[in-house]
């Protein structure tokens, strides 16, 4: 083999992913619409502002506490379209299955997709099915693409965070990542941790209804809240301060995170969003989120402190210290010497 090969870290959502995208992917396909920083792209067609987003789902295990790959494939794309400020309308669905995959499992997944789409108010209107030889993929991979309409006056984007913005998190963090991990590895840890997979389009509509100018909307999936905060800080050229005592974390998630040595701040979520709201609208946006079905535990977790040439994220700890929350290159690595 000549030259470097793709590593698992290249898909971690950390800096290695960025480098791969910037150096090996973008140069070949670059064009003005390519929206790298956001979850989807916005285009205008026939006077309508459309948001388009695509994602592939490769989770292991495919069934887990709180949902299945079917839920993720619908919610993930619905959420990505929603984070553009758009109302998702239609999804496509492409399936890649491994020879030998039980039909029964496929049907269960499709039922989950159907139910999830119904609940989110979107229709799956086109699809594709491929089967590959045993071992060429792991059970089932699903790709969905979503399309939605963006209301006039709304254009949230990662580069729009402004000093004074309140950063609102719509609920507890780390649930999905730890639920998947414990069920995939069959950890014998007594817990009720479930994936938080959920559609967020209603929540986004409620936010936009009272704050159409919302600055940034992001769903902290892979890489968790810490990664999204760092991405937005960099894209907007700002310093972000977080408050540890405001971070909603379920006690059992915190406990398992501690046992595994994994920081929930870097752990994936599938039904949460982060909103950057102008200060004067912060309380109203928070209330709107708390009143929506998946936002009961929403909290203001921090704010944009200033513009800076050295964008970074600081966590104000319970003891009053100020800890840097860095962007990671890949997995969480030990540092203590």
């Amino acid at each position: 083999m000549t030259g470097p090969a793709i590593l698992l870290d290249h898909g971690s959502g950390g800096e290695k992913s960025d480098t791969l995208i910037e150096e090996s992917i973008l140069p070949h396909i670059i064009n003005p619409h390519l929206a790298v920083l956001n979850d989807g792209a916005s285009v205008s067609i026939g006077g309508h502002r459309l948001a388009i987003s695509t994602d592939s789902y490769v989770v292991d295990p495919i069934f887990f506490p709180g949902g299945s790959i079917g839920h993720l494939a619908v919610h993930g794309t619905v959420n990505d379209v929603s984070m553009c400020g758009a109302r998702p309308l239609y999804l496509s669905c492409a399936l890649i299955m491994e020879e030998g995959f039980p039909v029964q499992d496929l049907e269960r997944i499709m039922a989950d997709m159907g139910a999830a789409a119904k609940k989110a108010g979107v229709a799956i209107i086109t699809g594709d099915t491929k089967v590959v030889p045993r071992g060429a993929c792991d059970k089932i991979f699903i790709n969905t693409t979503g399309i939605g309409i963006t209301p006039e006056g709304t254009a949230p984007s990662a580069d729009k965070a402004k000093p004074g913005d309140a950063i609102i998190l719509s609920g507890t963090i780390g649930d999905h990542g730890l639920a998947i991990l414990s069920s995939r590895e069959g950890l014998t840890f007594q817990s009720e941790i479930k994936s938080d997979t959920a559609p967020l389009n209603q929540m986004v509509s409620d936010i936009i209804a009272i704050c159409p100018e919302i600055h940034v909307l992001r769903d902290p999936t892979r890489g968790g809240v810490a990664t999204v905060l760092n991405e937005v800080a960099s894209a907007s050229g700002v310093h972000i301060t977080l408050h540890e005592d405001n971070l909603p974390i379920r006690p059992d998630v915190a406990a398992l995170g501690e046992l595994l040595g994994l920081d929930p701040l870097y752990t994936a979520n599938e039904g949460k969003l982060l909103a950057w709201a102008p200060r004067e609208k912060a309380e109203a946006v928070l209330t709107a989120i708390q009143n929506s079905p998946y936002g009961k535990e929403a909290a203001i977790i921090g704010e944009v402190t200033s513009t800076t040439d050295h964008p970074h994220v600081t966590l104000t700890t319970l003891t009053g210290g100020k800890r840097r929350v860095p962007r990671l290159t890949g997995d969480q690595l030990p540092r203590i010497c």
Partner: protein
């Protein structure tokens, strides 16, 4: 008949090093007078330049005595003298300075109060009686109050204090001890001290006397020192010490104390002549000393529980001398900071951040411009072995046997320092701290910029650790237009050790520490490296063991016990659960099972060959430490236990592989430990046997490597070598086998020395070490 004139010759001399701001020119003036010489002395960019004329004999005496009689603070790095033609000077004068950008003159370190100044402070008849900021050219603050060079009062934090007439006269008189002493001051013109309560209200009366009284009453006082705040309590008052522990959230880490004088220090510690010299040295570091039996009754039990050493320093400012006289004779003097943050330097910040800890604040109105913690040192086998390099040592250069391009080395993660090097000088910064909180990162950035400015070094080469997520690595990567050179952690440790000994490769490097990123992406830390120049080979290392939970395994050493016992197939999860004392875990077996699952499934369980983690594993297994409350606690407790039962027989050990692939196995050692535990052998003996095993293991390994390579020089580095028992015994064993052994003296063996090693490796060239096979 004309009278025969004595032959006149002339000489031009140049002196480089720390020769500014320490009374060097007045000293030359006095020497010239002493030998009846005429001429000039001046500060120039290339050092102090001297021109002397007189009889050949007196010139000879002048040259011979110049380095030996130099003022205590002078640090002469170069001294040249060449004959020139006489110009017929009729007097000897101190000329005005010319300033430039050369690195020939160095930034002086802060110096403990000299005996003469102390006498004045204690003399009721002296105008400086009781004045807490008394200093002279031989002593006082330097680096901590410098804002820029040239080192003149306007560029120091003494700028707001114009000298009174009396002080000005001293300052301008070449015969005076205070000639050009930039911080010169007295109670009429200089800074003053005041006492406030924790709401910032002034406490009426004499500040130092009242602070002393409060200390005697068991109160906690924040005291503004030279390089930062201290928190002081009466070291004999267990209630006060416990209260400080509780408020500072520092449950067990030993506190250092300041003793009124050597007599007080001898009551609580055994002090060798070498240790006494360090206590009295101008750097006035904290010296780790062995406790006396009497210390048990004289000092609070909570002061340094479970260890047989105590960190002691002597007062190094007049303010401290006065406070130690007014208050208890032995006081805890711990850094004034909320845990994990850098020591505080600003009055208002201290009032804000320490108001929950301190009852009173003894402060003053002179700003601390450079944060500088107390240095920590110890004596091993009659030689200094520095642990934390800061006040009194930094930023004095380490002289190198080679010449480096302008280089900045950014260090590691914990206990970090940075290093600027150019030519044959490497300037190691003061201790900066753990690079995770914002204040420490700011401090790091500030120090990097300030040192570049003061030393006039514009880095062309920038060295950093291999750890991709280290803040120091990111800082290096953010610098533009420089050559970035990643340097492997343990390679840097060995290079630092060699530089400390003015030595060069090739060498057998034994680098033992907690964690350092390896060239293969695993976490190294129990390494034998063959180091030559800017490359190395990994000759041997501890067998890879998972670290279940990553950093969580560092905080809970029992995880490493479980990892070693399970991964190497010594015990089952159930057996480990039964054996391990796991406070706070209701279901030890279930917890251990989860740990086992994590390791087997590779969940957040990076592979490590760390020696620090092996200490953790053994310490938790025999119960000396299962949960750490401060860094290195498990190893420190294991060492303390081992010292009580030394010497003991080693446990068996083994390795496999040849030459550069030797892997050291610990299974037979763990079986031996478990066996001893079953026989209820005292833990002290087990701890000692563990230390003996390491000594034996590495000695045998070195012999084997010598046979293969002919190398007979060994360098010992890495944080584990702060363990004085291990260091002493390794030194002893290797020397017995006729190895030449290099250990650390002026540069810490721990990560505080890392940046120096990085600078040297990077400066030497930019080739990377070979990837491990």
């Amino acid at each position: 008949m004309t009278q025969a004139l004595a032959p006149v010759s002339a000489m031009q001399l140049t002196v480089c090093g720390v020769v500014q701001g320490i009374g060097f020119r007045p000293y030359i003036w006095r020497q010239a007078k002493r030998f009846g010489l005429n001429g000039r002395v001046s500060n120039t960019p290339s050092g102090v330049t001297i021109r002397v004329e007189g009889t050949p004999e007196s010139l000879e005496q002048f040259v011979a005595t110049l380095p030996t009689d130099a003022p205590p603070l002078a640090h002469i790095t170069e001294f040249t003298h060449t004959p020139v033609t006489a110009e017929g000077y009729s007097d000897f004068l101190i000329s005005e300075s010319t300033h430039g950008e050369a690195v020939a003159t160095l930034i002086p370190a802060d110096i403990a109060t000299c005996a003469e100044c102390l006498d004045e402070v204690n003399d009721p008849a002296n105008r400086r009686f009781g004045y807490p900021f008394t200093n002279c050219t031989n002593c006082g603050p330097r680096y901590t109050l410098i804002a820029g060079l040239p080192y003149d009062r306007p560029l120091t934090s003494m700028a707001p204090f114009p000298m009174c007439h009396a002080c000005r006269e001293e300052y301008e008189n070449p015969a005076d001890r205070r000639f050009h002493a930039q911080p010169n001051a007295c109670s009429a013109c200089g800074p003053h001290v005041f006492l406030q309560d924790n709401r910032g209200e002034a406490v009426p009366g004499a500040p130092i006397t009242n602070a002393g009284l409060l200390l005697k009453q068991g109160k906690i006082i924040a005291v503004k020192g030279l390089g930062g705040f201290h928190l002081a309590v009466d070291a004999a008052d267990n209630k006060a010490v416990s209260l400080l522990r509780e408020r500072k959230k520092r449950p067990a880490k030993p506190f250092a104390v300041m003793c009124r004088d050597l007599t007080q220090a001898r009551l609580v510690a055994m002090i060798s002549p070498e240790e006494e010299a360090l206590l009295n040295s101008t750097g006035a570091p904290i010296v780790l000393l062995r406790k006396t039996p009497e210390s048990e009754t004289l000092l609070a039990p909570e002061l340094a529980p479970g260890v047989n050493t105590i960190g002691i320093m002597l007062p190094y400012t007049p303010l401290q001398h006065l406070l130690l006289k007014a208050g208890p004779p032995i006081q805890v003097m711990t850094s004034g900071n909320p845990s994990s943050e850098p020591v505080l330097v600003d009055n208002n910040v201290a009032l804000d951040r320490l108001s929950q800890i301190a009852d009173g604040f003894l402060m003053h109105n002179r700003e601390i411009l450079q944060r500088n913690d107390d240095s920590v040192t110890q004596v091993v086998k009659s030689q200094e072995s520095l642990i934390r390099r800061a006040r009194g040592y930094a930023p004095m250069p380490i002289l190198l046997s080679r010449s480096l391009p302008p280089t900045l080395a950014c260090g590691g993660i914990l206990k970090n320092t940075l290093c600027l090097a150019k030519g044959n000088k490497a300037f190691l910064s003061q201790h900066i701290g753990d690079m995770e909180n914002e204040e420490t990162l700011d401090f790091f950035h500030h120090t990097s910029e300030l040192m570049q400015k003061l030393l006039g070094i514009v880095p062309e080469v920038v060295a950093h650790d291999l750890h991709p997520d280290a803040a120091s690595t990111r800082y290096a990567q953010s610098l533009k237009g420089v050559d970035l050179v990643p340097v492997q952690h343990h390679h840097a440790h060995i290079a630092a050790c060699l530089a400390d000994n003015d030595a060069d490769g090739p060498v057998i490097g034994i680098a033992l520490d907690g964690t350092g990123y390896g060239t293969d992406g695993t976490i190294w830390g129990g390494e034998v490296l063959l180091v030559e120049g800017n490359s190395f080979q990994r000759a041997a290392h501890l067998a890879g063991t998972p670290m279940p939970g990553g950093d969580a395994a560092v905080k809970a050493p029992w995880r490493m016990t479980a990892a070693h016992l399970l991964h190497h197939g010594i015990l089952t999860a159930e057996e480990v659960g039964h054996r391990l004392p796991l406070p706070g875990h209701l279901f030890p077996t279930e917890t251990v099972t989860l740990i086992k699952q994590m390791m087997e499934k590779g969940i957040n369980s990076p592979t490590t060959s760390s020696m620090g983690r092996l200490f953790d594993a053994v310490s938790a297994l025999i119960g000396t430490c299962t949960h750490v409350t401060f860094e290195g606690e498990a190893a420190i407790r294991l060492q303390a236990a081992a010292e009580k039962a030394w010497p003991q027989e080693p446990y068996p050990f083994s390795w496999h592989g040849e030459a550069d692939t030797r892997i050291i196995h610990t299974a037979s050692m763990f079986k031996g430990i478990l066996d001893d535990m079953d026989k209820t052998r005292p833990v002290e003996q087990i701890a000692a046997r563990f230390h003996a095993t390491l000594v034996e293991l590495f000695t045998v390994l070195c012999q084997k490597i010598r046979k293969e390579t002919g190398l007979d020089r060994v360098a010992l580095s890495g944080g584990v070598f702060q363990n004085r028992l291990l260091l002493r015994e390794m030194l002893h064993a290797l020397k017995n086998e006729r190895f030449t052994v290099f250990t650390h003296h002026r540069v810490p063996a721990g990560d505080g020395g890392l940046s120096l090693g990085q600078a040297i490796v990077a400066g030497m060239g930019k080739s990377m070490p070979p990837a491990a096979r």
